[in-house]
């Protein structure tokens, strides 16, 4: 069964360092998302991406964050200068081009900022 894959599964970084989280969405999906979940808290929307551009972003997704779909298969989230409060699980999700609403999530990348 097709699945969303994310790498790395766990990354530890120093505060102020840049981090890139990678996702390979399901191949025929058209809509892509990043969510994050701080330990013990809810899954929070960061950004949605369609047709090679951001379609919506939350107030969390400030200038330190960026997304890219560089080669038609990968979908990346970059955090330019990490802060302690960026420590969280980051989930990539995708949707097919039909209005089912169902999100297909990856297993997540755990980011720890020291």
């Amino acid at each position: 069964e097709p699945e969303v894959t994310q790498t790395p599964s766990h990354q530890v970084t120093q505060m102020g360092q840049e981090v890139i989280l990678r996702c390979v969405p399901i191949s025929n999906h058209l809509y892509f998302y990043w969510y994050r979940q701080i330990l013990g808290q809810k899954v929070e929307f960061l950004v949605s991406f369609y047709n090679n551009e951001i379609s919506e972003k939350s107030e969390i997704f400030d200038d330190q964050f960026s997304v890219e779909r560089p080669d038609g298969s990968n979908f990346t989230l970059k955090i330019r200068s990490t802060k302690l409060e960026d420590s969280a699980m980051y989930f990539c999700a995708s949707q097919p081009g039909t209005s089912t609403g169902e999100l297909f999530f990856g297993e997540g990348s755990r980011l720890t900022v020291l």
């Binding site: 998302y33 809810k42 899954v43 919506e56 209005s99 609403g101 999100l103 999530f105 297993e107 755990r110």
Partner: protein
């Protein structure tokens, strides 16, 4: 502001009984309401979706109801099993398609053998 409320306290239930989880929302007009399962350290997994014009949806041992007047959804697992133990997330999507899906904090279900 928009709010999705789920009972954040854990729900403990005896194996074989029906588990009922509640999702209430305010200041929201969702087109779809979804339920996901999340195991510790894993990504959410989609279970069921119900549209605003549907009252009830079933899938195997799962049943979801959606009352747009009460702004509430109930999620039932019948004949619960220890393997059903997980956190269950309610999620709302606005009308217009492909909008962001907003999640509640989830309710942790523990099914006791």
């Amino acid at each position: 502001s928009q709010k999705i409320e789920q009972n954040s306290e854990a729900l403990n239930i005896q194996e074989g009984k029906t588990a009922t989880l509640t999702c209430n929302y305010t200041n929201y007009s969702p087109a779809y309401l979804q339920w996901y399962r999340q195991d510790p350290g894993r990504g959410p997994v989609f279970l069921l979706l119900i549209r605003e014009n549907e009252k009830e949806k079933r899938k195997e041992r799962l049943k979801v109801t959606f009352d747009t007047t009460l702004k509430q959804s109930l999620f039932h697992i019948t004949a619960s099993q220890p393997a059903d133990s997980a956190t269950y997330l309610c999620a709302l999507e606005r009308s217009g398609g492909y909008q962001k899906v907003t999640f509640g904090i989830g309710t942790k279900l523990q099914v006791i053998p």
